[in-house]
Structures are given as C-alpha cells and as structure tokens.
Amino acid sequence: MEAIRCEKLFKTYGSGANAVQAVRGVDLTVNTGELLLIVGPSGSGKTTLISILAGILPYQEGVCRVFGEEYKEMNEEQKTVFRKNNIGFVFQSFNLIPMLSAVENVAVPLLLNGVAPIEAEIKAQELLSKLDLEDKFHVSPRELSGGQQQRLAIARGFIHEPKLIVCDEPTAYLDHKTGEMVMEILKNRVLNKDRAIIVVTHDPRIFSYADRVVHMEDGLLVEKA
C-alpha cells in the first residue's frame, strides 16, 4: 500500500533576492512495510523534506499525499489532528522532556489521543519493558545513557501505533553498537506491513537496514540505490 506520494514538491524559504529553494521538485513514493533512508550532505534539504512529509512545514508547490490525504487541503488544526493520529517522531536530539519521567514521556502521544492517564502510563510501562527499560520507569531522561534515551524516544514514537514514523538522524549521537541496536529495534520491532518508516541520516553504518536508500542533494533526490 502506498504510504506517501510526493510529486514535484517545492519548498522555498524567504522571498526575492533572499529566497532559498530547499526542496526543488521532489518526486517520492514510499510504501507501507518499507524502511526508507534519505541520505545526503548537510544543507541538502533532508530535514525540510521530512518536515513536509510529517505535515509540520507547508510547501509552495506540488503534491504531498500521506495515506491518501493531501496536506494542502488541510488547515493547521486538521494537520495537527492528522499528525496526532498517524505520525510518530524520533528526533536526533531525542527531544525528551527532562522534567517528566521516562514513563510520562512515553505516555504523551497516548494522552494526546485521549487515553486516560493511568491507562496511558500502564501501556508506556509495558512498552518500556519490551525495550529493556523496565528499571527506568520513573527516571528522568537526563539520567539515561544515549542509547537508553533513543530507545525511549522510539517508544514514544510508536506507542500510539502511527502508520508513519519519521526519524531524524536517530543514530547521530550514538556509538556504532548502540546505533545498530536502535536500527534493529526500528527494523524488527517497529516496522510492520501497515507502517512505513523514513529515516534521515548521514550515517553509512546503518544503510544495510534500509529497504531503500534515496540520496538528496541541493534540494533534489538525485540518486536512488
């Protein structure tokens, strides 16, 4: 099943002489059950592209359909609801809330989806146990190692069963072994036939986990491998 279809996607920052085209006519299709890697140098437009795919950034031209829904036809609140129901995030710097415990961090997407707090925290505990974090339920993320934080971030990214998970440099701050562990989790535990995962990365060590790798340069997808 087609998860994402982008056609002639353009995104420009600024206007006039200061205009910068970050995405220049990208065509991209991603299917469910697929783990897609978007690679490329810094400033090539990778982050802008996943921000558009996740419904966070608007785009000026082209089509971007995610599970059949076109972002351009949605207002801001509709996009917010769409993200809440369909998209999970794993960020490069984790973006875990240090003032909340591990369980509370993971429970956030469930709370946003209307699950009762107690039920949300029980589900978060179950998921953290599956990711070998059962002894870290009530610990602040700042007390966890990089690998543990990323596992927590992954748990938060898919606890509400989203159909698309967007990961931005998930292994950037991790050593090789921990990076491999994170990709193992994404590939073997998170990915399923109804879900697509898009990973933006610089890290060539994780290319082997991809079903497909696309290369981005100067706002264009220039190479497919």
Partner: protein
C-alpha cells in the same frame, strides 16, 4: 497533559523557585507597604474613630484636618446649640502640651479635654481605673502606649510604666493619673492624655480662644449631613459628619504630605521588580522549553492545549507566589501589631495584590504565548 505541564514547571526547580520568589516578593511588597500606608492614614483619623458619640464635628472654618486646631470663641458652643435639629452639643479641647515627668524629662503630649458633665469624647476603652474618676481633682487618664513608653518613669528604658496614682506636671500644673486607657495610636506617636474640658483650659497656655471642636448629636430623624449644612449656614463655622471629617483629614495628608508618593513608589517598585523577576524568569522558562512545546505540537497537541498549558503554569506560580507573599505580609503584620508600625490589612488589599500578581502573570504568559505562536515548528528537527 495539564498535569504534565505543572510537572514540567515544578521539576525545573531553580526557575520555579525564581518565578515563585519573584511573585512572592511583588505580592509581599504590595500588601505590606500598602498596609502600612493604610495604617498611617487611619492613624490620622484615630481620634475621630475613638469618639463615636457625636454625629457632627463643628470647627473653625479654616480647619483643614483634625490636628489643625484653630480655636473658636466659647460662644460658638451656644450658637451651635441654638441650631434647630441639634439634640446636644458639647465642647472639646484638643492641643499639644508639654508634660514633665518625675524624672525631669519633658514630653509633648496630646491633651484632650472632654465635656466634664457628660464625659462625651472620653477614651473608648479603659484598661485600668474608671472613667468617672476623671472628675476627681487634677485627674488625667493616659493611654497605655504612652504610659509604658514616652511617659514611663524611666524613659527611655521604659521599664517602669506610668501607673494610677502617679503625679506629673502639665504646663507646670499638677496632674494625677486616675486611669489607663486604650486609644488609637496617633500619627505622630505622641502620648494621649484625657482630662475634662475645664481642666484642660487650666493646663493650656492662656489664650482668648480655647474651644477646639463642638461635638454635636442630631435629633432623632434628622439627617446629620443636612444638619451639618444647616450649622454651617447658621453659624459660619465648618461642620462635618464623622465620615466627611475623616475624609477631610485623610485628603489633607494625601495632598500635602509625601506619604502617598513614598509608599506609592515602594508599591510600584515591588510591582516592577516582581514583574521583572517573575516575568523574565517565566519567559526564559518558556524559551528554554520552546523545543518541548514544539515537540508537543509536532506530536499533535493543538495550539489551544499548549496555550492552556502555559496559562496553567502561569496561574499556578501566580497563586503560589501570591499566597506566600500575602501570607508573609500578614505574618509580619501579626508580629508587629503591638509595635510602632502602622499596619492595617484589609480584604481589598488581598484582592488588589491578587489582581496585580494576576496582571504580572498575564503579561508574562502573553509574551510567552506570542513566542509559542510564532515559533518555527521545524525546530524539533534541529539538533
């Protein structure tokens, strides 16, 4: 999510304490300084408050406030008594005289001379002795704060208070203490001595006019305000009911002393410093957490929910800060109630400080919310 918003706030200990302390400080200063201001203003009218019997105070037309005594001729009393609607009218002497103590010390005192036959104008509460003893030869009644401080036998040590039976001199005349009373503190903190009107005239330096005020009771069914107007028209003297006389006095102090400006500046400084500390810290807190609020937005939190989270955080620190500040001000007032400090805490000061703290919180929330609304949502992807 709203509980998580509070956890985010409270678990950021240093900033949380900073915001709460800023708001507590603002609230404390606003309440404490305003209470002292009100206390001082009420001290200026303490004597009017202590003399509840008359409906109307009659005085020379040039009098501007209660301590601005401009004596009238004795005949003024009879002219007032002749006005239609007056039930009774009695004389009152009020002046500042020097008292000489056994130790040889001199002390300026407020001497009140009340009508000897009715004792109208006498002290409101007797702590020792009997009010009728005022009719004894050379009798005076002294307020207890004066008796135990400035009129104490060993002033300034204040270990031997003036007691019943002691004899002092007022303007070189013998005066015997027959009672100790409790009266309102005076604005200048001078001891208050009560005696009869005729004896007060003996104590006072010899002058042609010595009648300070005429205290008037309106006949039943007569409106005191209307009667005051009639007295003014008929006698050419100034006449006020107690409420108007209080306002005349307070207005004078507000207009011609630096008290409102000084206290106003203190209150304003408290407000500004509170706003600066709490507002800036709260804004910094929001700025520091901008990435997390953006993360919530990315994960599907509606803008309204994020707004409410910030407002709840703001309301929380406002409530805690206001509670601590007003609580501390109340406690400080409680522990200083028997001191020289004028401190009167009214319910509307709580309300005013709550509104002030609410304003500070609303202002800092507004600035923070603007930042949230204008934030670049894609910062979630920035490292």
């Amino acid at each position: 999510m709203y509980l998580y918003a509070l956890k985010m706030l409270i678990n950021e200990r240093a900033k949380y304490i900073g915001i709460v302390m800023g708001l507590s400080f603002a609230s404390f200063i606003i309440v404490q300084q305003a209470s002292i201001f009100i206390g001082l203003m009420l001290r200026t009218v303490g004597f009017i408050h202590d003399t509840p019997q008359p409906d109307i105070w009659v005085m020379d037309e040039k009098v501007q406030y209660i301590d601005d005594v401009k004596p009238m001729t004795d005949t003024s009393l009879y002219r007032v008594r002749g006005v239609d609607g007056v039930a009774w009218a009695v004389p009152l002497y009020k002046g500042i005289l020097k008292a000489r103590l056994k130790s040889g010390n001199y002390q300026n005192c407020i001497l009140i001379g009340v009508d000897g036959s009715t004792l109208i104008g006498s002290p409101p509460v007797m702590m020792e002795g009997n009010i009728v003893s005022l009719r004894d030869p050379d009798a005076i009644i002294v307020d207890h704060v004066g008796a135990s401080n400035k009129l104490s036998l060993d002033f300034p040590l204040n270990q031997k208070p003036l007691t019943i039976g002691e004899v002092i001199e007022i303007n070189d005349r013998r005066a015997k203490v027959v009672g100790i009373c409790n009266s309102s503190r005076t604005f200048q903190s001078q001891p208050v001595i009560y005696t009869t009107f005729n004896r007060a005239l003996n104590f006072a330096p010899n002058e042609r006019k010595l009648l300070s005020f005429v205290l008037v009771k309106a006949k039943e069914g007569v409106d005191p305000k209307l009667l005051a107007q009639t007295i003014q028209k008929t006698t050419g003297l100034k006449a006020f009911d107690a409420q108007d006389f209080r306002w005349l006095t307070i207005s004078y102090y507000l207009k011609y002393t630096g008290i409102p400006i000084n206290f106003g500046i203190s209150v304003l400084l408290g407000f500004i410093i509170g706003t600066a500390i709490a507002g800036q810290t709260f804004y910094n807190f929001t700025l520091d957490n901008l990435r997390y609020f953006a993360t919530f937005r990315a994960m599907g939190a509606p803008l309204g929910m994020v707004r409410k989270m910030i407002l709840i955080q703001s309301f929380w620190v406002g409530a805690i800060g206001w509670g601590i500040g007003t609580g501390a001000a109340s406690i400080s007032g409680f522990f200083t109630q028997y001191s020289e400090l004028a401190f009167v805490l009214t319910w509307w000061l709580f309300l005013a400080s709550a509104i002030s703290v609410g304003f500070i919180c609303a202002l800092s929330s507004f600035v923070s919310l603007r930042k949230i609304q204008t934030m670049d949502a894609s910062i979630v992807f920035k490292s």
